[in-house]
C-alpha cells in the first residue's frame, strides 16, 4: 500500500489504521470501531469496503474518503491523508464550569456558524493531536455556542487535558457535527424513552431540549444512571423539567449504594433515586409499542446489550437510536 507517496508492507487482515500505526505513523484516530470518523483518509486507487464508508456523507464518499479503522489494508493500493482544513474547523472556549468533581461543562464558540442537531457529536483535537468525540448537549441558538460535558477518566489523556490545560479563551480544532442520534419532529406524538449512563446524558438532554422545544406530545421517560449520587450531575435540571412538563418523567438511579440515600434532603425534590442499573430498571418497566422511540447512550456494553434486549422486547430496530461511543483504550484500569 502506498500512503502519502511512501510504500508500506501490508499484513493479511489488518486494517489500514493498524498498518499505519504499526509503521509508527502519526495519524488521527479515536474509537477504532467505525463510529467517530476521526480516522478519515482518501483512497486514490483500490477497492473501498462498504463498511469503511458507513455513515459518511455522499460528498465524502464521492471523493473516495474512507474510515481507516474499518478498511482492509490489502484492498487499497494507494491512499493519502486529507487536508486538515477540509476536516477541521476551529472554536474558542468561552466558559468552563464544574458539574461535579470529575464532570465539567465546556461552552465553545465555533469561528463560523455550525449547523447541527443536539445529540450529534463533534471530535475535539487538542494541541498534542489527541482526538476524542463529545456529544452536543444544547440546541442551536442565535448565540452559536456549543455545550459539551466532559467526564474526567482514569488515565484519560484527553479528558485530563481538557480539565487541566484547556482554558477560557483558548482555541481548539474540531471535526463535525457527526451522527444520527438526534430528535426528529416526525416522532412528535410517539412515546420516547432515553437511557443514559454517566455523561451519556449529554446527547440525551440535548434531544430532550429539542423535543420539548418542538412541542413533543408523547410521553418522555429519561433514565439516567450513574455510579453514585455525584454522577447524577443533571439532577436538579432534570427534576425541574419533570415538574414543569407533565409528559416528562425523570428516573434517576445509582448502581452503588455508597451514599446513604436517606441523607438526601427529602424536601428539595420529590424525585426518587433508586438503586440498581438504569438499563435493567428501564428494560424491566418497558412497555413497547410499535411507535416507541428509544435513545441509548453511554458505555458500549450497556448500549449494545440494552439495544438487543429492547429489540427482542418488541421495539422496532429502526426506532432505536444509539450513540455508540467506545472508550475501549481507557478501560484498562478499574473505575
Amino acid at each position: 500500500m502506498i500512503f502519502n507517496n511512501i510504500s508500506y508492507q501490508v499484513k493479511k487482515n489488518e486494517s489500514v489504521l493498524e498498518c499505519l500505526l504499526r509503521c509508527e505513523l502519526k495519524i488521527d484516530y479515536s474509537c477504532k470501531t467505525g463510529n467517530c470518523q476521526s480516522c478519515l483518509l482518501k483512497s486514490i486507487a483500490g477497492d473501498v469496503d462498504k463498511k469503511a464508508q458507513k455513515g459518511l456523507k455522499p460528498t465524502a464518499i464521492e471523493q473516495g474518503f474512507f474510515l481507516a479503522c474499518q478498511q482492509q489494508a490489502e484492498a487499497i493500493q494507494k491512499a493519502e491523508s486529507i487536508d486538515n482544513e477540509l476536516i477541521f474547523s476551529h472554536a474558542r472556549l468561552v466558559n468552563k464550569q464544574l458539574f461535579s468533581n470529575d464532570i465539567c461543562q465546556l461552552i465553545i464558540e465555533p469561528v463560523s456558524p455550525l449547523y447541527y442537531h443536539a445529540g450529534q457529536f463533534i471530535n475535539l483535537k487538542n494541541s498534542q493531536g489527541i482526538v476524542r468525540s463529545y456529544s452536543i448537549a444544547n440546541i442551536p441558538s442565535e448565540q452559536q455556542l456549543i455545550e459539551l460535558h466532559i467526564h474526567k477518566k482514569t488515565n484519560g489523556a484527553m479528558s485530563h487535558w481538557l480539565f487541566n490545560e484547556f482554558n477560557v479563551g483558548d482555541n481548539i480544532d474540531f471535526q463535525g457535527p457527526i451522527g444520527e442520534c438526534f430528535y426528529t419532529s416526525e416522532n412528535k406524538n410517539k412515546p420516547m424513552i432515553l437511557i443514559g449512563t454517566g455523561t451519556g446524558a449529554a446527547p440525551l438532554i440535548g434531544i430532550v431540549r429539542d423535543a420539548l422545544k418542538s412541542g413533543h406530545q408523547g410521553l418522555i421517560l429519561f433514565y439516567h444512571g450513574a455510579r453514585n449520587i455525584e454522577g447524577l450531575y443533571l439532577h436538579d435540571m432534570l427534576s425541574n423539567l419533570d415538574k414543569s412538563h407533565s409528559n416528562f418523567n425523570y428516573l434517576p438511579s445509582i448502581s452503588h449504594n455508597d451514599d446513604l440515600l436517606s441523607n438526601l434532603g427529602s424536601n428539595d425534590s420529590a424525585i426518587k433515586i433508586v438503586v440498581g442499573r438504569c438499563n435493567e430498571i428501564a428494560i424491566k418497566k418497558l412497555q413497547p409499542t410499535p411507535q416507541t422511540i428509544l435513545y441509548l447512550c453511554g458505555n458500549p456494553e450497556m448500549v449494545n446489550t440494552t439495544r438487543k434486549k429492547a429489540f427482542l422486547a418488541g421495539i422496532a430496530s429502526k426506532n432505536i437510536y444509539i450513540d455508540p461511543f467506545e472508550y475501549k483504550d481507557l478501560r484498562k484500569s478499574e473505575r
Binding site: K51, K54, N304, R307, K308, F311, L312, A316, S317, K318
Partner: protein, 122 residues
Amino acid sequence: MSESLFDKIGGEGAVDAAVDIFYRKVLNDDSIAHFFDDTDMDGQIAKQKSFLTMAFGGPNEYTGTDMRKAHAPLVEKGLNESHFGAVAGHLQATLQELGVPEELTNEVMAIAGSTHDDVLGL
C-alpha cells in the same frame, strides 16, 4: 411482462417489514442464536436483509459460490441440517405473520431450499 415474485410480495418494503420479525425469531431460538450472536446489530440486520431479499427473489448478486463462502465458517462451527430447517421454519412463520399468500410463500421456500447444498457446504 409479468410481475416478479419480489414485486408481488411487496419489494423492499416487504423486506423491511420482515427483517425485525425474522431476526427476533432467530435470536429467540437457542438452537441457532449463537450463529447470529454478533454485537454489531447493524451489520447483522444488513445481512438479514440480504438473506430476505435473496429468498424473496429480489435483486442480488450472490452466486452459489458466494453462499458457500459466506456459510463455510459456520459449517466449521457445526452448521447442519437441523439448523437449516430451523431457519427455513422461521422464514415461513415470518411470511405467515405478514399475511403473504400461500403460493408466494411456497415460491420463497423453494428459493431458500435451492441454496441448501451451498449453505451446508455439501
